[in-house]
Symmetry: D2
Subunit: 325 residues, 4 copies
C-alpha cells in the first residue's frame, strides 16, 4: 500500500466510524507478573507429545514465503524493505584480494558471502507481544520507561518466543467464500461456515491459520499490498474468547484489514491480540499448498529467530498432517 493510500484510509476511518466502543487496556497475564509469552504458556511437554504422536505423514508443508529484493513490505511509515547484497564473490575476491593470499589462492577457492537487512515484520514472521501496546503499556504492564532501551525491549523480545509445536488448523475462507472483496473483513460467521464445510473442529490451545487467498499475489508486491482483506475484531474475539486458541496466523500483510474498525485505534486487532490478550500471530504465511491438498489439521512446528529485544521475527513454519481422531 502506498503511503498516501495508507494514510488516507486511516483518516477516513477516523472520521466515519462512530459507534460506541469498548475500553481497551493492556492485559495482566494469568501466568504471573513476569510472564512474557502470553498464551504460548498453553504449551507443555504433554501437549507437544500429544500432537507429535498423531503425525501420520512424512510429507511436509512449508508455510513460509521467500525473501527477495522487491518483496512486499510495509513501507508507509518509512521502514526499510528487504535488502540483500554480496560481500564476497569469486571474481571480486580475485580483484580485491581481501585475505592477502593472492591471485592463485583466490582463483582456486571461490568465495561467496552476502548480507541482508530488513524490517523485522517482513516475509513470514511472528509478531512479538511488544509490537503494540495500549496507553504506554504492553502485555502484562511492561513499560518503555523501564524496559525499552536502544537495543529493544528487555521484556517480551523475540528471543523469549519458544519453539512452537501444537495442533494447527487451517480455516480456508478463500475456498469457502471465493475471492474476497478489497478490504473485506472476515467475520466469525465466515469462520464457522468454513469450518463446517471443512468438517474441522477447533480445540483449546490450537494454532489457527486463516487463508484469505492473498498469498496468490505475493510475487507482485503492489498487488499483494493493495487493499487486502483481513480478519475482523469479531472473528478474533470468537477464536480467542470462545475457543481458547493459542496462536493465530494469516496469509496477508497485516492480519487485520484497513481502514480500521475503531476511530480511536488504527490497529485494533493488533492491540486486542497482543496487548489485551497476550496472543501472538503470524503474518504473510503461504497456505496455498495446504489448500490444494485439503489439509486442515496438522502438527504445526515453527521456531522464530531469537532476535534479542525485537518486536517481530522471521519464521519458517512447517505443517505435518495428523490423525486427529
Amino acid at each position: 500500500m502506498k503511503r498516501t493510500h495508507f494514510l488516507l484510509a486511516i483518516v477516513l476511518a477516523s472520521q466515519l466510524v462512530t459507534f460506541a466502543q469498548r475500553k481497551e487496556t493492556a492485559g495482566k497475564s494469568p501466568w504471573g507478573f513476569n510472564d512474557e509469552i502470553g498464551t504460548l504458556n498453553l504449551m507443555s511437554d504433554v501437549s507437544r507429545l500429544n500432537v507429535l504422536s498423531q503425525i501420520k505423514s512424512g510429507k511436509i508443508y512449508d508455510l513460509s514465503m521467500t525473501y527477495f529484493v522487491g518483496m512486499p513490505s510495509f513501507s508507509a511509515l518509512g521502514d526499510p524493505g528487504y535488502q540483500y547484497w554480496l560481500t564476497h564473490t569469486p571474481h571480486g575476491t580475485i580483484v580485491d584480494n581481501p585475505n592477502g593470499l593472492g591471485k592463485t589462492m583466490n582463483s582456486k577457492v571461490s568465495y561467496t558471502g552476502d548480507a541482508i537487512s530488513m524490517y523485522t515484520h517482513m516475509g513470514t514472521h511472528i509478531d512479538a507481544l511488544n509490537h503494540f501496546g495500549l496507553d504506554g503499556k504492553i502485555w502484562n504492564g511492561f513499560t518503555p520507561e523501564e524496559h525499552l532501551g536502544d537495543k529493544g525491549w528487555k521484556k517480551t523480545g523475540a528471543e523469549t518466543i519458544p519453539p512452537i509445536i501444537a495442533r494447527g488448523v487451517m480455516i480456508d475462507v478463500k475456498a469457502s467464500k471465493g475471492r474476497l472483496p478489497n478490504n473485506y473483513r472476515i467475520t466469525s460467521n465466515d469462520l464457522k461456515d468454513a469450518l463446517k464445510k471443512q468438517r474441522t473442529r477447533l480445540e483449546p490451545g490450537d494454532i489457527v491459520v486463516i487463508r484469505t487467498g492473498q498469498a496468490e499475489f505475493y510475487q507482485h508486491a503492489d498487488h499483494y499490498l493493495d487493499n487486502y482483506p483481513g480478519i475482523s475484531l469479531d472473528a478474533v474475539k470468537w477464536l480467542v474468547e470462545d475457543h481458547g486458541i493459542m496462536l493465530l496466523g494469516a496469509d496477508n500483510l497485516s492480519f487485520e484489514a484497513f481502514p480500521p474498525e475503531r476511530k480511536d485505534n488504527w490497529v485494533p486487532v493488533h492491540t486486542y491480540l497482543l496487548a489485551e490478550k497476550g496472543v501472538m500471530f503470524i503474518e504473510q504465511m503461504n497456505l496455498e499448498e495446504l489448500s490444494d491438498d485439503n489439509v486442515y489439521e496438522f502438527a504445526f512446528i515453527a521456531a522464530s529467530l531469537k532476535l534479542k529485544g525485537a518486536s517481530g521475527s522471521p519464521m519458517r513454519p512447517l505443517a505435518i498432517p495428523i490423525n486427529s481422531k
Copy 2:
C-alpha cells in the same frame, strides 16, 4: 578473531604445511545436473516419517543462539556484524507523528517496530552449497559467469534448502576428551572414541552435530572467536565417505579450525564438504543442553529462512529425543 590474527594464521599455514595433496575439484551431483541441494536429497517422506514416529518426548531442545548487538561474527574480511535498531517506539511515535494521526492516537496506540542487518553467516546458520567453490565452480559445476547476479546465485541459493527432518546424532567430543586446546582439530578417532563412550551408532542419512564446547563462550565474542577448535578433514571424510551422513553441524564459528590443513586452500573443509561432496553444515549451534541431559539421538527439525540466492541462512534447529532402537 581479529583480522591481524586471522591473516597471520593463514600466512603461517601457507608457509608451513607442505605434505602431498589430493587434487580438489567441484563435484558433479549423482542426483542430476539440475541438483542444487546435494545430500539433502537423501530425505524422503519415508525417512521423515520414520524418525518422527520414533519421537518419545514432548521436551524440545533448542539448538540455536540468540542474535544480539555485539554477538560473535566473522569480521576479518570486512563483513557486517549484527545490527538491530528501533524504527518506531511508543514515545518516538508521539514526537514524530509518522502516521499523521496526532498525539492522542499515538499516545494510545503504543507502537514498536525494528529492523536488523547482518552477514548471512551469523548466529546459528546453515552454509548453502554456493558458499565456497573450487576453481570457479560450485557444487554440480554451476559457474558465477552464468548463475551469479547482483542479488546472489540463481543456483543453490538458500531458498532451495528444504525443511530438514532426519535422525540427529550429537557427538560430544568435549565430554569425551575434556577441554580442547586452542586450534585443536578433532580427528576421526576422537569421534570414534566419543561415540563408543556414548554408545551411539551412526546411520546413513544422519545429521551429525559435534560439540567442541566452544559455545560456552558465546556471550563473550572475543573469547568465542579466539583460536577455537574445529573439525579436521580426516574427521569429515570419515563421516561422509564411511558413514554416508547427510548434514553436519558444530558449535563453533567456522566448523573447521585455523590455520588450515592445506597450504593451497585456506578453507579445505568448507570446500570439501560444500563443493566436492554437496554436504551442507550448520555453524554456531548450541549443544549445551543436549550434553547436560546426555541426549545423543533425536529427531532433528529445522527450516532455514528462504533467502533468495544467499550463501547461508539463519536457522533455529530443534532436537526431540527419540527411541532409536
Copy 3:
C-alpha cells in the same frame, strides 16, 4: 517513479524510437591512460584562483537537499532508500547501560548516536565516471574484469573526485519557459533562450547547472519522481562539444528524462556524459534560491565524500556570487 511505470516507460521507448543512431563507445581520455577524472582535469590552481578572486559577496547559496526518511529515491531496480536510525539515546542509554557505567553516569551524560544507510545516488550527489559504461568498458577503457572488486571500482571511484572549485552558471529554464510538461526534454534552444534572457555567457571549463523547477516537489517524493522533465542529448552535446563545459548539474532525479531517446540505450545521456565524454554531473540539486535572487554566475565550491570505489557520492555544493565583469 514506481517500478511498473519505470519499466513501462522504457519498454515503450524501445518499441517506438526508431531513428538512425550514432555508434556509442567508451571514450579514451586525452589526459592519459591513467586518467580517472575526465573533464575535471580542466581545473588548475590558476583556474581556481581566478574564480575565487572574483567573489564579491559573503552570501552563500546552499545548492543541496536534506536527507530524511521518505525522501525521493530511485527504487525501481531495488536500491535501498535512505534510512536513519538512533543507536544511542539519552533514555535508552540509561536502560541499556552499554558502557557499564551505570544509571548515575548515564543519566548525567546524555548520549545520542545514530547511523544511516543509503543508495549512493540519493539526495544531492555527483555521479562518478564508473556509474555507466558502454559494452563493458567505462571511461578511459577500464573494465570490470580487471578493476571491479566486491568493494567497488579500483578506477574512477568517488574517492578520486577532487574538490571542485570553478565558475558556475545556472541556466534557469523554468523561469524562461515556465512549468515544463511531464517528461519534457530540455533542448539546446531552450538553453540558448534562457541564457539570452539571463544575459549570461558560457565559458570553457564552466560548471553548468540547469533548473527544471522539479525541486519544488522535493518534499513529496511521489510527485518529485513522477514523470519529471530532464535534459536532452542535444542539449548536453551542445554544452559539451560547443562550449567545453566541465561539469553539469540539474535539480531533478536523474538529469535525463524518461522514456529514453534511443531504443538501444535506456540511459543515453548518462552514457554519453560519463562513458563517452568523461563529464560527471550532479543530480537533485536545489537551485530555488539562486533563481529567487536571479543569481546566474557564481563561484561553485563543492567536495563530495571520498567513498572508495563508489559510483556516486553525496555532496553539498555552495554557490557564491561573483563579479564576472
Copy 4:
C-alpha cells in the same frame, strides 16, 4: 580501541580521578531560545567575505579522510562500521536482468550502482550539538522528551548546520612537541608553544584545528584507535573562553583522550563543548598536507551533509591559504 580496553579505561578513570569538580550543566544560548547552532552564529556575510577576500592561492588542501570498508570506527558500544556494497554491476545486470530489457541492452549499458551504511561519527565528520547533553538536556535546554523522535532530534539536527566559511588556523602540536605519548592530553601550554613556533595568532571567530599526528595511522584502524592522544579540558577552555574560537577540529578519533578527566563524566570535553558552550567540533581530519607545507592560516570551507535530526555528519573540509597579514 577494543570494547574491553575502552571499558577498562573508563572504569579506571572513575576510580582514580578524585579532584574537586566544577558543576556541569547544559548552556542557554546567547543567540536566543530557538538557537540550534551555537557559536556558528558568529559567521556573517561580512565575516565570510572578509576571509574569502584574503585568499591568495588556488591550491586546495583536502582535510578529509577516505571512507573504505575496514576504516577506523568507534565500535565499543555496538555502533556499525562503514559498509559499502554493490547493488548493480555490469555482469550482474546481465544475469539478473533487473530492468527486464534483456541481455543485449544490459550488455551494452554497463551499470554500476552501490550503497553504503555507517555510524554518523565516522571518517571526517562534525559533531552536532545534540550528540551529548547533560542531565537530559542538550544545548539551549532542548529535551529528548519534547524533541527526540524515532528519526532523530527536532532541534540542532545536522540539517541545521550551515555551510562553514571562516578563517582557519592549524595548530601543529605534533610538529611542536614531536610524537605524543599514548593517551596524552594536549594542554593550553602546548597550544601556546606551538602557536609561538608557528608565529600564528588566534582571532575571535576562528576555526582551530589541532594536529596530534594520529592521522599517520589512519590506514591501520587498530593502531589509529589505540590509546590515541587528545585535547584536554584545559586546552579547550582556553580556546573557547580566552580566544572566542568558533569551531574546533582534530585528527584523532574522538577529539578528547581516554581515560576521561573527570570521574563523573566519561566524555567531559564533549559535554563542555557541545552542551555547555554550543561549540561543535570536527573529528578524524587529515592535517598532514597542511603540516608538510607549513600552512597555518587558511580560508576554511566546509559543508556537512544535511542529515535530518542527526547527531553528526560527514564533511569534507577544504583549506585555501590566505594572506592574513
